[in-house]
Amino acid sequence: MATYADLELVKYLCCCKKKFSVCRLYLCKYCLQLRCTDCTQHEVDTPYCPHCLENMPSGEAKLKKNRCSNCFDCPVCGHTLVTRSTSHTSPSPDDPTKTIAKKMYYMACGFCRWTTRDVGLPDQSVASGSWPILQNPHEQRISSLLENYKIMAQIEKAEHERKKYVSRRSHLYRQDKYGGSAAGLRRKGMSTFSSMSSTESKVPGELEPSVTVDSFEPLPNEYFTEPAALVKTTKLAHRHSVPEFQPTEISKLHPIHKHLLMRKSLRCKECEHNVSKADFNPSSIKFKIQLTAQHHVPEIRILTPSTFTMNKETIVTLTLSNPSVFGMTVSLHPIEDESDTDYCSAKVELPKKELLLAGRDEPSMQMYDDSSQADEFKDDPKVIVFRKGNKIGFVVKVTPVVNEGDVKIQFMMKHEFRNTTAAALQSESKEPEIVWLEHKVYMNLGPIAKKDPNVSQA
């Protein structure tokens, strides 16, 4: 379905003058403007694990290096590992003649069949949480470096505050340089001045400088004499996925803690209202607020591809569907004051009348009787080819003005929109205010037919 909607042939102009297909756009109810992902502020709601769907506060996530502690990925192919249980019999400690069955657990990849037994990890007696964590050999060095940079950031910030004390608020981002907790620094506020004197003296000298490596040992002879054991050697991707160890042999790969994902919400940059906010619970697929343009702006699609010839009028059938539950009137106009003249490569004759669209009626969508509807709307059969539910097919006449390349047209679409925001409802008498929205639509109708010299021009 995503590929079906995301064809990139019909594009709408965002308020920032960029073109996107309708499924990529949001409609801000308050500004009544289309917003693309660049015109919205992306905010992190909460990190969560995509496998166990556990929420984690961002502080804790940072502490755990944005990884889930219970879920693992296969180090070979990257799929999620599943826990398998086996029963293991061992002699009973009380009575050596009897054996007791004990459940043991190991992890296996369902895709490439890798198991924790492959690398010699012993089976665990509990299902989760007891897998050994490898100690990073450079952990001390990294933490001392981090510590140092944090102090550096603090000093820098304090110096900056001293210089530009007046316009402090605009430089909040600077505080989080080198991972120094912005919130923590802000809480300290002015105290950074006083603490500065003590930290400043700490920095230089304490950090052991990195050692430059200028000679490497030559490759051992085996690399040239032995055949390459590709099935036992890790690939670059394997090594990059564990940067702290970078094992060279498959048998040294350990399960990787699953990366956390982010629930994010989007906010209109102009009015700061939310345009998309997911439900807090990660297992829910619902949204609290979802103002994607696909749910509010009528969608135009190309019904069938047509063959084009230069300077020849071709009839193209487009479909228009109404996503809202109310009836909608749509009118199409040419764009007159067009600055973006590069785009258009054809003349287009649009329907002059307003197009009436029925509302989207989910339950009865399967059993619509087309014939009765056509009478109801008194359609002109020359313009409206068919009508089915909330969708119509209408014709436009396209005359390409170029002799090669894609046939591209543009027009303005005006449509009704029921403004149901609280502000709009208060001003009117409970009835949602109907406003007209205008969107510029750009379409790529496909290439011009190649002239075939063997076929006589009919």
Partner: protein
């Protein structure tokens, strides 16, 4: 339904050991020997035109699997295709191998070409194709869209429970071919 086909009781060269579950609705062409406790699902196809096919014990051959002896282009001239014990051929697998050892898993829609020899404990992943002439080392795993390879430490577990389950459930819904040899024929399977 399958009686129209060349298989069925009309095939004089078909040897099914006692305890094997061979569904009536599968296509068995030519000289085929099936070991005891092997389960062959309906719509499987085993073609032994160019040479005999010998299938060992405790194998599972699922729906739409094609096993072909393609050792020779002329019919009846080829070598014997020996399939060992405890192998699983998942739905839609296509196997034309020279030899298949024991404890292998050929996953769904995998393709094993005519010059491949499969050893012991190998897994050919879903949709993977091996077409080069080669001898798969024991415990090789082939997986993913790029047919990446890895050597595993243990062979895949035997599907004894699954065979028990199928032996119980298959006769309820399918007609079976009757075994015509005693389990003694297993000696023929072992090399």
């Amino acid at each position: 339904m399958a009686s129209k086909k060349a298989g069925g009781t009309t095939n004089p060269n078909l040897k099914i050991a006692a305890g094997a579950m061979v569904c009536e609705d599968c296509e068995l062409i030519g000289d085929i020997t099936i070991g005891s406790r092997t389960v062959i699902h309906p719509k499987a196809r085993i073609v032994a035109e160019s040479g005999p096919v010998v299938i060992g014990e405790y194998n599972i051959i699922e729906e739409l699997v094609t096993i072909t002896n393609s050792s020779s282009t002329e019919s009846g001239n080829g070598k014997v295709l020996i399939i060992g014990n405890n192998n699983v051929f998942e739905v839609g697998a296509n196997v034309q191998a020279v030899r298949v050892g024991d404890h292998n898993v050929i996953e769904s829609k995998a393709h094993v070409g005519p010059k491949v020899e499969i050893g012991t404990g190998c897994i050919v992943g879903a949709g993977c194709q091996i077409t080069m002439a080669e001898q798969l080392a024991d415990y090789t795993v082939i997986y993913g869209g790029k047919c990446e390879r890895r050597i595993q430490r243990e062979r895949p577990p035997a599907q004894t429970l699954q065979i028990d389950f199928l032996t119980k459930i298959l006769p309820n819904y399918h007609y079976l071919k009757k075994p015509n040899t005693q389990p003694a024929s297993r000696t023929a399977v072992k090399k």
